[in-house]
């Protein structure tokens, strides 16, 4: 089992989510986050005072998947989320030790 964590542009969320549903991903957690890699922020001005905003809004999608789905999911995210510009985001893959379904206490890959 692996956890795939993707940080993407907020405007790409719908496209990525639909594409993932299409290849059979059944569970995901989505959160609104702020952050930056090499993308520059912007300046806001209020009553003549400048504020540099370098933490930009992004969306984080987290999924725990059986190993066989990891490669298809990664390619799907790449094709749906890419614009080719700085700020597109990143994908991280982590090993997962255990997964448990709370409703019936099922464990392992069948709990995903």
């Amino acid at each position: 089992m692996k956890k795939v964590e993707a940080i993407i542009q907020p405007s790409k969320l719908d496209q990525v989510k639909n594409a993932l549903h299409e290849i059979g991903v059944e569970g995901m957690t989505v959160s609104d986050v702020r952050g930056h890699g090499r993308q520059k922020g912007h300046t806001e001005v209020y009553r003549g005072r400048e504020y540099n905003v370098d933490l930009l809004p992004k969306v984080k999608i987290e999924m725990v998947l059986p190993d066989r789905l990891v490669d298809p999911v990664v390619s799907t995210i790449l094709s749906a989320a890419k614009t080719g510009k700085i700020g597109d985001g990143k994908i991280f893959i982590y090993p997962v030790e255990e997964s448990i379904r709370i409703r019936n206490e099922e464990r392992g890959e069948s709990a995903l």
Binding site: V45, Y46, R47, R49
Partner: protein, 478 residues
């Protein structure tokens, strides 16, 4: 123990006032115009008709003035509460709104007991007397010195709304760091020591600066440029300097947490201001219309002025800038509203928009004071320039306020040829500045030595909503 004693004193004082008020104020008979003994003679019928016309006039004036009173109260709550609330950080939104709201209640009680009397009963040139203590003698009978067609009680409640919003404006200077208890005490003293004398001098019987009642230095102030905006704005500057900067200012970014709230507040201020300025005509007449139009035009031109100045200097016109500009224009047109032509109102507004923009964006950062919500930059500065420009643009064609012994209209402002009026305006402005500076320093010293002004640093960092009120403005996760 300290809190218990404080609450006990407050409770006793309140009980005393309520008791005394109930005992003293007997209901006044409604001022229905009595027709002469029923008669079919032309003279009798004519008198009856005149009475009915006067009644109709009163009905029109009184309904207008009550609406205006409501509009001005709306300017404080929710107008100013939202405008200021949106400008502070999220952790302080409730505390900021509470400052405006509590004054709605507090100043009302103070006004009823002693405030109205100190402003509007006869006394000296500088302060009124005790004739109307506990609103004694304030009922449905008009006081012709002030407004002959509406009950004195209407006049009282209209003026009350001005007395409420004026101290509320000062809160912009010490936002995010003032103790609530200290603010309450400060405002009670401020209202008594600064507002009441200033209002009496400009609008009260025998007032030193009263232009319509023969004051020694007639300062033209139609709706309160000096009484409301200069006193509060300058006082705000003194408070900002005395209290010092917020923790982290100016290095830590402290942008407004909701320009949306400020926007709504500013629009409510604009609409409410029609009550503030046009209502100061004290009747539903052509002068009210004139003031209404001047107010609207002043706001519009100022919004444009600020936006243009910002567009040029920053490359983009901001929403916060546009609404701030409108407010600055409304402030500046306040003293002028019942004296100037619509075209002059456009000019005054535009000048105020640009001037206040520079005050807020350049002067404030140059001198480094933390006037958090620009109470001085908008109200102090806007009120000053508006009061002076009133001396320039006031004209008898709009409002023949000065008359010679035969009742002929005299020149009013510079455009009429009476350039000296600008000097009279300057006297009023300087008195307002002086009273605000000296009075505020004294009050700050008193309150500081009694209970302290600023919250401790941990409270300031935690946020006043939690520290002072035990609440959070937004709990979206719930």
């Amino acid at each position: 123990m300290k809190h218990f004693v404080f609450a006990l004193i407050l409770g006793l004082a309140f009980g005393l006032c309520a008791g005394k008020g109930v005992a003293q104020t007997a209901p006044q008979p409604a001022s229905e115009v009595q027709a002469a003994a029923p008669s079919q003679t032309p003279a009798g019928q004519s008198q009856k008709l005149e009475g009915e016309i006067a009644s109709a006039q009163s009905a029109g004036d009184n309904s207008w003035m009550l609406v205006c009173s409501a509009l001005v109260l709306m300017m404080t709550g929710p107008g100013l509460a939202l405008f200021y609330g949106g400008l502070v950080r999220k952790k302080n939104v409730l505390a900021t709104m509470m400052q405006s709201f509590s004054l709605m209640a507090l100043i009302t009680v103070l006004w009823a007991v002693v405030g109205f009397s100190l402003c509007f009963s006869s006394g000296t040139s500088f302060i009124g007397g005790v004739q109307h203590l506990f609103l004694h003698g304030v009922g449905s009978t008009p006081d012709p010195t002030y407004a002959g067609t509406i009950p004195l009680e209407t006049y009282m409640v209209f003026q009350l709304m001005f007395a409420i919003i004026t101290p509320a404006l000062i809160c912009g200077a010490f936002a995010e760091r003032m103790k609530f208890s200290a603010m309450v005490l400060f405002m009670v003293l401020w209202s008594l020591i600064i507002y009441d004398p200033m209002a009496h001098m400009v609008w009260g019987k025998g007032g030193f600066l009263n232009a319509s009642l023969g004051g020694a230095f007639p300062t033209l102030d139609f709706a309160g440029g000096t009484v409301v905006h200069i006193t509060s704005g300058v006082s705000a500057l003194v408070c900002a300097l005395y209290l010092g900067k917020r923790v982290g200012y100016p290095h830590e970014p402290m942008p407004p947490h909701s320009v949306v709230l400020s926007f709504i507040g500013a629009c409510l201020l604009w609409v409410g201001w029609f009550g503030f300025n046009a209502g100061s005509a004290l009747a539903a007449n052509g002068l009210a219309t004139s003031a209404f139009v001047a107010t609207h035009f002043g706001a519009s031109a100022a919004a444009i002025g600020w936006a243009i100045a910002e567009w040029i200097r920053n490359g983009k016109p901001s929403v916060l800038g546009a609404i701030s500009g409108a407010v600055a224009g409304l402030v500046a047109i306040t003293p002028a509203s019942g004296f100037v032509s619509p075209m002059s109102a456009l000019i005054i507004g535009f000048i105020a928009g640009v001037f206040c923009y520079l005050m807020v964006s350049k002067v404030k950062s140059r001198f480094g004071y933390d006037d958090s919500l620009d109470a001085f930059g908008v109200h102090g500065a806007g009120g000053t320039i508006g009061a002076l420009l009133t001396g320039v643009f006031a004209t008898a064609a709009i409002n023949p306020i000065f008359k010679d012994s035969h009742g002929n209209a005299l020149p009013v402002g510079w455009v009429d040829g009476h350039a000296g009026q600008v000097l009279n305006q300057l006297v009023g402005v300087l008195i307002a500045w002086g009273l605000a500076i000296v009075g505020t320093l004294i009050i700050l010293k008193i309150v500081d030595s009694l209970i302290g002004l600023r919250v401790p640093e941990e409270h300031e960092i935690q946020g006043l909503d939690l520290a002072l009120h035990g609440e959070e403005g937004y709990t979206f996760e719930a």
